[in-house]
Assembly symmetry: C2
Homo-oligomer: 343 residues x 2
């Protein structure tokens, strides 16, 4: 059970990112963590996580304070609201359930207490939460981590955890209050000293910067079926496809007031070592037959850029193709009607 | 052997299109046809084609006058040049061999005799031939046919053969001579009365018209993995992807002097019945791990449009993605070097 002297944190999504987040929060000794699991629940409940981590070393049979197989209903359980709810699931609003729906049982009616931390990619992900929970403090987590879950409950973290935490701009929360909450979370998360978690006030900058990778390389790899090593080898793909897409993101960012570093495109093109052949999340998801996070990673920056008057022809086509790939996954799961074949 | 009173025709490529072309040429009684085969050579040599055709009915164990397993070397064989060489192979200049190289052994040095008929898709396909054989008459064949080869030498033609023949614009051949050759070919090809083969003087129009399908729907299906029935069902794909691409082709055609019919986009979107779920050639090729004809079908109209000052943002992205798919096929065939994975 939770220790009342510690900060209570609910981590929703205990996969490769969530498990490391939970571990960091617990090893600092300031938080008591409940993790909500799905596919790996039985394994973690019974024998804990087996974690091999460049930050933490070998951690066998590790369990957070509590594991759950669904988001706790605090009203039914008569439990206190959590201090923080950290979301580390994929965020796929076009397929649902939405993040707002997902965490609803863990929030009290007013929700003046719980701070929501979105360690998720993309743009405008706070907006549906502001609408659903206008009194909630909502923090942005931009994570750069190399972590995978090759088997349920087995986590291999081969690239260090770098987490930027800052307050989303929310209409009903004082900036100073949100800033304090962000700094509090950074302190709790980094207390174990094994991770690089920083307070970063410029959430828009951090998110647009990561979009240079996530709105461009990520869908391009998913669409072409080539990993980031191969896309750099393929005939003309960097000059003809990756850079034009990235340029549109850089211009769109500028149009909404975010100035990215001059070398951001080169940095992002080379962020994965050429000889590692890494599959970005959307490519990995397409290969597994999973849904892709294309609306937040590609659709939202596209819409923001167009709204700001920026021509986005490359991203527009990538978006439409990604949408067709998502439809294909829906079909494979029996979610669309295909008229019978004429005989 | 060839009948000297008949027109001698060499058909290069005896697959689903070439077999029906050979059949049409032979049933008219005016041509003696040699077909060059590759993968189905043994089957056709031994037991002939088995053809089930909406135009010809059931044709069992049919053989053209002659079958060969490579393009005949007329100089070595001391043979007369063919009157016509008809190309029904795929045309993939970025992978090679080129069509000009392929037919070289069947042409005499001067090549003032043989007329070359390209029953192949795309734009500018005559240009490498004009360069290689400046004295050759070169005809365009734009074929609308539904035909497949489910097993080697087994041809199922389920949509009628409509072939438009006209002279390519070549610098060294009198237009009236080329026109006469085109009309001669139409007569020979249609003499059996089982096919709809027409003389069509406006080759550019016929080719740009077919590009509305082939530069747009064809690569879009290949890239998204959706057939033409599904692409019409998928969320927003027609409005967001197919039509913008087609509009660029229509505008590019106009810019180079080709006025397409007002309803050409709708016609091409609906040319395949919705309940047939047809895979256009590039999708079929991607699924089989074959190379795609993206340079002639997509690259050439893109380059022509851009040269004429037409913005082609959608086709540009489709082209770059198709190029990456081609590279992926090259990799799968061991034709590109992938640096070793870091251990």
């Amino acid at each position: 059970m939770s220790d009342p002297k510690k900060t209570s944190v609910l981590v929703v999504g205990g996969g490769s990112v969530g498990a490391i987040a939970a571990l960091n929060l617990e090893v600092g000794g300031l938080a008591s963590v409940t993790v909500v699991l799905r596919s790996n629940y039985n394994k973690v409940k019974e024998t804990g996580y087996d974690i091999q981590s460049c930050d933490h070393g070998e951690v066998k049979a590790w369990r957070p304070t509590s594991v759950r197989n669904q988001v706790p209903n605090i009203t039914e359980e008569g439990a206190d609201p959590y201090d923080f709810i950290v979301l580390t699931t994929k965020n796929i609003p076009d397929v649902g359930p939405t993040v707002a729906e997902l965490i609803a049982p863990a929030l009290d009616k007013e929700n003046a207490h719980t701070t929501i931390v979105l360690i998720q990619n993309g743009l405008n992900i706070e907006k549906p939460l502001i609408e659903a929970y206008p009194k909630a403090t909502i923090l942005s987590g931009v994570s750069l981590i190399g972590s995978a879950e090759p088997q349920p409950g087995v986590i291999v973290q081969d690239d260090k955890d770098r987490l930027l935490i800052g307050p989303f701009d929310t209409p009903n929360i004082h900036a100073s209050f949100a800033e304090a909450k962000a700094k509090e979370f950074v302190k709790i998360y980094g207390a174990g000293g094994k991770t690089d978690c920083k307070y970063s006030p410029d959430v828009s900058h951090d998110r647009w910067r990561k979009l240079v990778y996530n709105a461009c390389l990520n869908p391009i790899c998913a669409i072409t079926g080539l990993d980031t090593g191969r896309i750099r080898l393929a005939d003309g793909a960097v000059e003809g496809l990756v850079k034009p897409a990235m340029r549109e993101i850089v211009v769109a960012a500028k149009a909404v007031g975010v100035e990215l570093a001059k070398d951001v495109m080169e940095t992002m093109i080379e962020v994965d070592p050429l000889d590692l052949y890494l599959s970005p999340s959307m490519l990995a998801d397409v290969r597994k037959g999973n849904y892709i996070e294309f609306e937040n990673l590609l659709g939202e920056p596209l819409r923001e850029g167009k709204k700001a008057g920026v021509p986005m022809p490359t991203l527009e086509v990538l978006y439409q193709i990604a949408r067709a790939l998502q439809w294909r996954t829906k079909e494979s799961r029996g979610l669309v009607d295909i008229p019978a074949k004429r005989t």
